[in-house]
Structures are given as structure tokens and as C-alpha cells.
């Protein structure tokens, strides 16, 4: 947008986007392999055999859509942050090893065949979460050896760790039993399963809290886009901002990945699309990317559910197919505004 951002404009845009999100959620929750009617849903649960519409809606569609919102918002916002921190428009949430770390955690859980559950959740999610965070810490540690908060060092460390862990994943996959292999690949391609409400509640608390925290440091992220030295002379506490941004973005990505596997393209494309239309100011980019990411993933998941019904596509496939052309259209339309395309 050409004009300067004001609080009023920001609030207006965020609220409008939220309304769109709610509308999309409602529409998509009524779409599926079985047609259900909203009226029937409102009739309430009844006894369990009396109202399958309600059950399908509340137990399966709604949790899945809420999860899609959560994961979409988390990935998009963390994409924004990593692009700002690394000053690189090609950064995505997985660039610093989160994807391979989570994948490694997941496949270890699958191979060891753990049967215990945490709060009724399979151990895969827990291991994936631990793997993701552990890898991020590892990359941060290695990157710091390249000199304080050197961006290139971080990127290289991320590439190395990703490559190494991917190799380990391939090795483990090759010696795993076929059923486990299927489970792993399925997980790696990204999928939405119906989670129980406690997990969704706590997960949404973490993700939304993380996004708000990132919003708090948006002006600092703006300044960081100009480089660390410039940001320092604008009064930004470089170390503090980088650590907070990095930690929160990594945490919400780890939450997203542990719940839904690896869903690509959301973290890379949504920040770009929103930036193309609304400009690079992070105070606006962050919340709007989160909401647009949620909308995008809800739609993608709905398509994944119905395109080849009764089977389901992995969501990652749909995001890739949707995301590419969609982004191309935006790019052509708004390319004048992007300075680095001159």
C-alpha cells in the first residue's frame, strides 16, 4: 500500500481478514465426502447414533479445520520472521534444519515402535517436536561458531544439518519395515489428522501467543532488514531481538510440524504474497500473513479431502500445486512494487 501504516488501518485490515477466515472456516467445514447440513448440526449431539452430522462436524471437521488454521498461521508467521532475520526472501521456516530434525524425531519414534502415549497422543508428535527444537539449537550453536550472529554462518549451518539429517532419515527409512516406511513417508508429506481438543487448545495458545510476541518486536524486525549495523544505530538491541525472534519462530514451527508433518510452501509463499500486496512493514505483514496462511491451509486441506475422495491427498501436495501458480499471478500483477526485481 502506498500510504503509511496507521494503527487504525492495521486494525481494520486484521479484523477484515479475520472475518474472511471465519467465513472460509464455516464454508469448508460443510464440505467433505459426506454432505452434512448445518441445521442437522445445530440439532445437537442427541444419542450417538441419532446425529452423525453433528458428530462429523464437531469431532472431525472442526478439529481438522482448527488445526489447519493453527498450522497455516504458525508456518506463515515463522516464514516472515526467518525471511527478516536472514534478510533473504528465499528463506522458509525449514531452512534452519527444523524439517529434517522433526523428520528424524518422527522416524525414530516410528522405528522404535513406541506404544506408550502422552495424553492420548502418539509419541511421534512428541519426538518430532523434540527433534525440531533440538536441531534448531544445534544449528544456532554451530552458526555462532562462525562469529556472533553472522547470518551466512547460520544459513550454512542449517544447510549442513539439513543435509546430514536427511541422509540419516534416508538410511533409517531403508532399514525400516515396510509399514513403518509408509507411516514415515505419509508423515513427511504433511497431513491433517483430527486432533483432540486439549491439544488444539494448548497448541493454539502457543501459536497465537508466539505471533503476538513477534508482533511486539515487529519494529525491530523492520530495522533489522537494513542489516545489523544499521539496526544497531537505530537503537535496536540486535542480540536480544534475534534470539527472541529466532526462538519464537522455531518454537511455533516445531509445534506446527509436530502436529501435522512437513507442509511446504506455506512458509515461503504466503509472506511474499502478503508483502507484495501490503508492503514489507512487519507490523502489518506478520498478523496478516498469519491469517492468510490459515485461510490458505484450510482451503488446501479441504481440497485435499475431496479431490480424490474417498482417498485423501497429503496436504503438502495441494499446497505446492496451489501455491505456485497463485504466487505467479501475484508476482506479475504487483512486480513494479518490488525493488529487487528491477
Amino acid at each position: 500500500m502506498k500510504e503509511l501504516l496507521t494503527p487504525k488501518k492495521l486494525i481494520f485490515r486484521v479484523v477484515s481478514a479475520l472475518l474472511v477466515l471465519v467465513a472460509v472456516m464455516l464454508v469448508c467445514s460443510l464440505i467433505g465426502t459426506e454432505s452434512i447440513s448445518l441445521k442437522a448440526v445445530f440439532n445437537g449431539p442427541g444419542t450417538q447414533t441419532a446425529n452423525p452430522d453433528y458428530q462429523i462436524f464437531v469431532e472431525f471437521r472442526l478439529p481438522r479445520i482448527i488445526l489447519a488454521c493453527l498450522v497455516g498461521a504458525a508456518l506463515a508467521c515463522s516464514g516472515v520472521v526467518f525471511q527478516a532475520l536472514l534478510r533473504n526472501p528465499l528463506a522458509d521456516p525449514y531452512i534452519l534444519g527444523i524439517s529434517s530434525g522433526a523428520g528424524l524425531g518422527a522416524i525414530i519414534a516410528v522405528i522404535c515402535g513406541f506404544n506408550w502415549t502422552v495424553w492420548g497422543r502418539s509419541p511421534i508428535a512428541v519426538f518430532a517436536f523434540a527433534g525440531a527444537l533440538g536441531t534448531v539449537w544445534l544449528v544456532w550453536f554451530i552458526g555462532r561458531m562462525a562469529g556472533r550472529f553472522h547470518v551466512t554462518g547460520l544459513l550454512l549451518a542449517g544447510v549442513v544439518v539439513n543435509a546430514f539429517f536427511s541422509a540419516v532419515i534416508m538410511f533409517l527409512t531403508s532399514i525400516a519395515k515396510s509399514q513403518q516406511v509408509y507411516s514415515t513417508i505419509f508423515w513427511l508429506m504433511g497431513n491433517m489428522t483430527e486432533e483432540d481438543f486439549l491439544v488444539l487448545w494448548i497448541g493454539s495458545g502457543c501459536v497465537i501467543g508466539g505471533i503476538i510476541a513477534l508482533f511486539y518486536i515487529s519494529p525491530q524486525l523492520n530495522a533489522l532488514s537494513f542489516g545489523e549495523e544499521d539496526a544497531r544505530s537505530m537503537g535496536v538491541n540486535i542480540a536480544g531481538t534475534q534470539i527472541i525472534a529466532f526462538a519464537i519462530a522455531a518454537a511455533i514451527t516445531a509445534v506446527a510440524v509436530s502436529l501435522s508433518g512437513l507442509i511446504g510452501f506455506v512458509g515461503l509463499l504466503v509472506p511474499h504474497a502478503v508483502r507484495l500486496v501490503f508492503g514489507p512493514d512487519h507490523r502489518q505483514l506478520l498478523p496478516l500473513s498469519g491469517i492468510v496462511g490459515a485461510i490458505f491451509l484450510v482451503i488446501a486441506d479441504t481440497l485435499a479431502r475431496i479431490i480424490i475422495a474417498p482417498a485423501q491427498l497429503p496436504v503438502g501436495v495441494v499446497t505446492a500445486i496451489l501455491g505456485g501458480p497463485f504466487f505467479l499471478v501475484l508476482l506479475v500483477k504487483y512486480s513494479r512494487k518490488v525493488s529487487w526485481l528491477k
Binding site: Q180, F186, F197, P310
Partner: protein, 298 residues
């Protein structure tokens, strides 16, 4: 209080609220609840389970099957509920079943847990070995109130198998290489029901014990395994002659193998031998005909 502390406070309250509201919902593992009424709306989530249900005479009670449940032919006409790997929960719930039969595989276990949590009657059986099959038939028979039919079915299969064992005897075991996939080469190992079928049919596995159930093996191991017979189950039912020709061509390069030298490479229809179900005897007999054709001349 500055904005960071407010944020922390809100998140903590949110989490506590969530724990208070939702915590009681899980940890209820309903297990397999015995049925109050007879199961007359049954969903089967695996092809061999479908076969068992049909064999128990429950054709009319079955309301949904998976996409790959193609035997008997009547099963293929039943409404679908997704595939074995990805059952479609919505379709299952929409038919309001009072019994859902699943296998103990990982994906299906999660599904079963979820369904049990919302009070659906879910029966999980594990069918990995021949004995498992017999147990499963009995369990399903009990759950559906068809104990008699179940007993009969099991006895039937057992008798036939015993007769076959008597026929082939315990000597002159034929060394068999059971090829599941050609590229890359994967064979059935010792810890599989296929191995059990082989032994019932008078054969023994040409490959030694392995870590995997269906290990990939290299050409070297093929050469030294000394198989008398190579069996390739075919996943497609048509063009068996064509597939046999292809197989012969492929295996000709292992000319030192007795199986190839004696032209004993067999491509057989796959569904009776790749699925551990009520047609266990048919499958085993087919194998026996490949291993000891002379016994079946008459």
C-alpha cells in the same frame, strides 16, 4: 505491567483453562465393549476382514468396506469407506455402524482409538500369522454372534490344511524363493505367513532368517540360494500368461539356479496368497501344486 508480562499471563491462563476443560476427556480406553444388540451394521476396514465376514455369512450386515475389498465379488459392490491405508472416517460415521472391524496396523490403531473415544464399537484383531487368523475368525464370530459359523470355518480350513500336509509329507522339502517385487528385488522372509504357507505346502524358504520380513536381496544371494522353485505372486489378475513370459525372461539370467534350469518359475494369482484370510487353504494348495505337481496329477 508491560506488554510482555501481560502476554505471559494470558498464555498461562489460557493453558490452565484448557487443562481444566478438556483434561477429563481422554484416558478412557474403552477397550472392546461387548455388544448389547446384535451387530447388523458392520464396517470392515481390510480386505481379509471383509472375506472373513462374508465367509461367516454376514453379507447383508456389512454396510461399508474398503476400496481394496474385492473378494467375493459381492464385496466389491458394497459402498466404500476409503482405503485400507486411509480409511475415510466421515464415511464410516455417516453409516452409523454398530461394529467396526479393524486390523492392528498403526494407522488403523489410531482410527480405532478415535472411534472408541466417541463411543463407537470397534473391534481390533491382529492377523499376522496363520494362528492369528484362526483366533481372529473366532473373535469376530463371537463379536457378531456367529460363533457356530466361525468354529465351522476354522475347523474346515484346519482339516483341509491337515490333509494337504499329510499328502506332501515331511520329506523332500522344496526350496522356494518367494519374490514379492522384482525391482528392487524383495523376497518373503522367514517371519511371514507366506513362510508358513510354504512350509504347509511342503516347501522351505531358500533364504535364511533375516531382520526384515520382506528383505531386499542382492543378485549374489539369489545365485547362492539354490532355489528349486521361484514363485511370483501377481497383483493383477489379467494377462497371467504375459507376466509368466516376462518372468521367464527376467530369470533366465540366473541360469545356474535349479529353478531356472528346470523351468520352475511360476507366476500365480496373488490375492489368495498375499492376503491372510479364509481362502488360506486355496492359496496353500496353489502353492503345493507348484512345488509338488506330481502329487496332483490325478
Amino acid at each position: 505491567m508491560n506488554k510482555w508480562w501481560w502476554l505471559l499471563l494470558i498464555i498461562t491462563c489460557w493453558t490452565a483453562a484448557g487443562l481444566a476443560i478438556f483434561d477429563r476427556r481422554q484416558t478412557q480406553d474403552c477397550g472392546d465393549t461387548p455388544l448389547a444388540t446384535r451387530a447388523d451394521r458392520i464396517v470392515s476396514l481390510a480386505p481379509n476382514l471383509t472375506e472373513i465376514l462374508f465367509a461367516l455369512g454376514l453379507e447383508k450386515e456389512i454396510v461399508r468396506v474398503t476400496l481394496d475389498s474385492d473378494y467375493p465379488p459381492a464385496a466389491a459392490k458394497k459402498p466404500k469407506a476409503g482405503t485400507f491405508w486411509q480409511p475415510n472416517i466421515e464415511a464410516i460415521i455417516a453409516t452409523r455402524p454398530n461394529l467396526i472391524v479393524t486390523l492392528a496396523f498403526e494407522q488403523q490403531k489410531n482410527l480405532a482409538e478415535r472411534l472408541k473415544r466417541i463411543n463407537y464399537n470397534c473391534l481390533t484383531v491382529n492377523i499376522e500369522k496363520v494362528n492369528d487368523l484362526f483366533e481372529a475368525i473366532e473373535t469376530i464370530g463371537e463379536a457378531t454372534g456367529n460363533k457356530l459359523e466361525a468354529n465351522e470355518l476354522v475347523t474346515n480350513i484346519r482339516d483341509n490344511l491337515d490333509k494337504l500336509s499329510a499328502l506332501v509329507g515331511t520329506e523332500d522339502k522344496v526350496r522356494v524363493l518367494w519374490v514379492v517385487q522384482r525391482e528392487p528385488l524383495r523376497v518373503a522372509g522367514h517371519n511371514t505367513f507366506i513362510n508358513e504357507m510354504l512350509e504347509l505346502a511342503g516347501g522351505e524358504n531358500a533364504i535364511g532368517p533375516t531382520l526384515h520380513k520382506y528383505p531386499p536381496i542382492g543378485a549374489e544371494q539369489v545365485i547362492v540360494c539354490g532355489a528349486d522353485v521361484i514363485i511370483e505372486p501377481s497383483m493383477q489378475q489379467k494377462d497371467l500368461k504375459e507376466q509368466q513370459k516376462n518372468a521367464n525372461q527376467y530369470w533366465n539370467k540366473f541360469e545356474n539356479l535349479p529353478a531356472v534350469a528346470n523351468e520352475r518359475v511360476y507366476v500365480i494369482p496373488g490375492d489368495t496368497v498375499s492376503r491372510l484370510g479364509p481362502r488360506l487353504y486355496e492359496g496353500t494348495e496353489t502353492i503345493a501344486r507348484c512345488l509338488r505337481p506330481e502329487l496332483f496329477e490325478n
